[in-house]
Amino acid sequence: MGFAESFRQNFIEADRWRYLWDGLCTTLLITALAVCLGMILGFLVAIIRSTYLRTKKLLIPDLICRLYLTVIRGTPVVVQLLIIYFVIFASVPVSKTFVAVIAFGINSGAYVAEIVRGGIMSIDVGQLEAGRSLGLNYPQTMLYIIMPQAFKNVLPALANEAIVLLKETSVAGYIAIADLTKGGDIIRSQTFSAFLPLLAVAVIYLVMVVVLTRLVGRLERRLAANDRR
């Protein structure tokens, strides 16, 4: 069977390209929502942790955060996904995509938290002192002085975390979500040819990652130029 024939069979016949297209949309939807959830969780945890480290306040929330970080970073994301789907939401009828967003968001939040905490701790303590000496309280100093600087420093690392998450969602098929990876696999199971469908899946991921990485690189250079003003 020639390439053209194989291509026709895998993608054109019975509109099989739709598996890839619909899968891609699902992958992007899960990634986008999980990135948002991860950022919210991550910033929250980072602020609690750095507040504890700098002021020794919020001991109990800090303990909870540390437990969260240890458990999430110490177990595979697939296991977390399975537990959230089959254990936590076992008797609750919710959409699988929702479960995936929760699982990947909670997972990503742990990594975002450590990135952001590093960013906060890298800001000179003199900035905090200057803010406090003017009469600003701790939250105001964080909001207006520390976070804008920390956020700018970690923006490239956060963007890279989002790119990693895009690839990590490829395990969503474990709970029978028809994402991009699963789409290619469905085609494989129908046509009994593995090469083209899986290659197509790989190329689509690669193109997305390369384009996004380029964008991050550009962002990074722009931020660096900003620093030299």
Binding site: G126, E129, S133, N137, Q149, D227
Partner: protein, 241 residues
């Protein structure tokens, strides 16, 4: 205006301040000198509670401030400006925003009032053309003048200076001291930790020598430098003068 009684401060096991009792009047310009590690910066930082004293009292306008809640501490800090050795300007904000941030966020002024005040202060520190520049574009001396303007924007009653010229290149020390002298002439109450003996002689109403966490000697600048009594002070002055 500021009354300090038996103030001590420990860092872990190290006793940095070993009991300081002092009184600072309104309008006084107190200059604190002493070898490094003598506790002079720590003493200054206790006055606006950047450091929490281990024991003792600090009264500001008669009110005990060492056991206040955060909110009241912030009220106290609004009335005491502080200038740091390393300037600590906010690098992500323009010069004007550096100055207006605190008065606006603390609702002392609205945006327009704060900007007007900022321009007045920039005029006063001689840098009106830098309003829209960023800190990274300024020299060290200019940064410190802006830091002084930023502290003044809150209309403080006291200004605390923590080695304001120690991080500056020698040729920039003069412009900062000049500005501090103007401030002194305008009647501002000032507490200054410094190594600039010339400034102490010329501007101080009282010079204080600290070593080993206590005030060893203090006097009017004339007497202090002409007639030092404490042997540690004599030794110190022989090294720095």
């Amino acid at each position: 205006m500021i009354d300090v009684k038996d103030l001590t401060k420990d860092f872990h096991k190290t006793k940095v301040l070993r009991g300081i009792t002092e009184h600072i009047d309104k309008g006084e310009k107190v200059v604190i000198i002493g070898p490094s590690g003598s506790g002079k910066s720590t003493f200054l930082r206790c006055l606006n509670l950047m450091e929490t004293p281990t024991s003792g009292e600090i009264r500001f306008d008669g009110k005990e401030i060492t056991h206040l809640h955060d909110r009241e501490i912030n009220q106290v800090r609004m009335r005491m400006g502080m200038v740091f050795q390393h300037f600590n300007l906010f690098p992500h904000l323009t010069i004007k925003k550096n100055i207006t941030l605190a008065p606006v966020k603390l609702k002392r002024m609205d945006e327009a009032q704060a900007e007007k005040k900022a321009m007045e202060l920039l005029e006063r520190v001689g840098l009106p053309d830098k309003a829209n520049a960023y800190p990274a574009q300024l020299s060290g001396g200019q940064k410190q003048r802006i830091a002084i303007a930023r502290a003044l924007a809150m209309n403080p009653e006291v200004m605390l200076f923590d080695e304001p010229t120690s991080a500056l290149d020698p040729e920039m020390v003069g412009e900062v001291l000049q500005l501090m002298k103007q401030l002194a002439d305008d009647g501002m109450t000032m507490v200054v930790v410094t190594h600039e003996m010339g400034f102490a002689k010329e501007v101080a109403s009282r010079v204080m020598f600290m070593a080993d966490g206590v005030v060893m000697e203090q006097n009017s600048p004339q007497e202090f430098f002409r007639n030092p009594k404490n042997p540690r002070l004599k030794e110190f002055l022989s090294k720095v003068l």
